[in-house]
Point group: C2
Chain length 217, copies 2
């Protein structure tokens, strides 16, 4: 027996689809609360370093812990569960991705471009984000380079994500609400934050080369 | 009337396909010769700067002119001619891409991921490559950052290119010859060179931060 699915386009075939069992609030509220707890925890722990780290560095650590865990855990649950929509006993993340599918059905349809971008995030950007946290905390000489690298990869990923959606028909959301809330809104942090970090890291690297130049002349 | 096409998979539909009019040699030989002429020209011109530039910098200028022009002109001809395979009077580049399609039919099929990666190359990586040439020649403080950025984007693009091919069925070449010669061989420079440039730029940026650190302590 097959349940009809709620996604767009309607002709998308999802054999064995198991309908959502949690409400939108039961999915988003816990996710939001845990996210905030993690960010506040990193802020407080980084404060205990004794004033050595600037407030900007502490915010950046919050961001890189958050983006790193999102890539590894949340996107990992998506990439490594190709049939998450048909699990008879769905996990919290199965439910989360079935909910997100209302804003972009390519995640349930296993669109190659969406899976590729998430796969790169899980395997490369995620671990590199956590390395960035360590690099910021211990003020390594590669700190800005790793921040720049991760953020540039995240931006490239978002570009692929949106451009392929556009070229593929741009009809993957149930309604304008889910378009704005999920497809645009839920992804917006990964456009805004990487842009800010990329610009900041670029300036820091530029400054370092100017110091090097002055020293050698 | 529709001509059958030579591509794989055989069920690919290409309405109005115009068969190749040039032979493999008539396409590859001029392309190869022009590429070599451009690289040699950049090598000679960069040598006239009077010994200020190292041999490595001159090689890098050759590479960035070559990769920049490839992105802008060759890939531009692909991205901005969506129906190149049906041109009644095909240009040289129409013929080139029809030939390359034997190694990856996704370019004739307008696969969203392939078009996206090439589109990013045409609009961003290409112009940025030419900016890198200028930055190397005039030894700008952002020279290594722009080289690092372009190369990282090229590597990310290749990863998307190959991963989506894998997830999409991995059956886009006519024969093992075209798999190795076009799908792997023709793209291999954009795996090898960006890897080398990325590693080199990373080391240069790392060194600059160490100089900056020494100066401030």
């Amino acid at each position: 027996m097959e349940h009809p699915h709620p996604y767009s386009p309607a002709d998308l075939r999802l054999p064995g689809f198991v309908p959502l069992q949690l409400s939108q609030m039961e999915i988003l509220l816990p996710y939001l609360i845990i996210s905030i707890v993690i960010i506040v925890a990193v802020w407080l722990i980084s404060g205990m370093y004794g004033g050595r780290l600037s407030k900007t560095d502490r915010w950046l650590m919050c961001w890189f812990v958050y983006t790193g865990l999102t890539h590894i855990i949340t996107e990992g649950a998506f990439v490594f569960s190709p049939r998450f929509f048909s699990n008879q006993n769905p996990s919290f993340f199965d439910e989360l991705w079935k909910e997100f599918g209302k804003g972009d059905s390519r995640c349930v349809a296993r669109d190659p471009a969406a899976v590729t971008v998430s796969g790169i995030n899980v395997l490369l950007a995620g671990p590199a984000s956590l390395l960035a946290v360590y690099a910021i905390a211990s003020q390594k000489a590669y700190s800005h380079t790793i921040q720049f690298t991760v953020s540039l990869c995240e931006l490239y990923g978002m570009l692929v994500y949106y451009a392929t959606a556009y070229l593929d028909g741009f009809n993957f959301w149930v309604s304008p609400f889910y378009f704005w809330a999920y497809f645009v809104g839920a992804n917006s942090s990964w456009v805004v934050m990487p842009t800010l970090v990329t610009l900041r890291s670029f300036k820091k690297i530029y400054a370092a080369f100017q110091v090097e130049k002055m020293k050698t002349t």
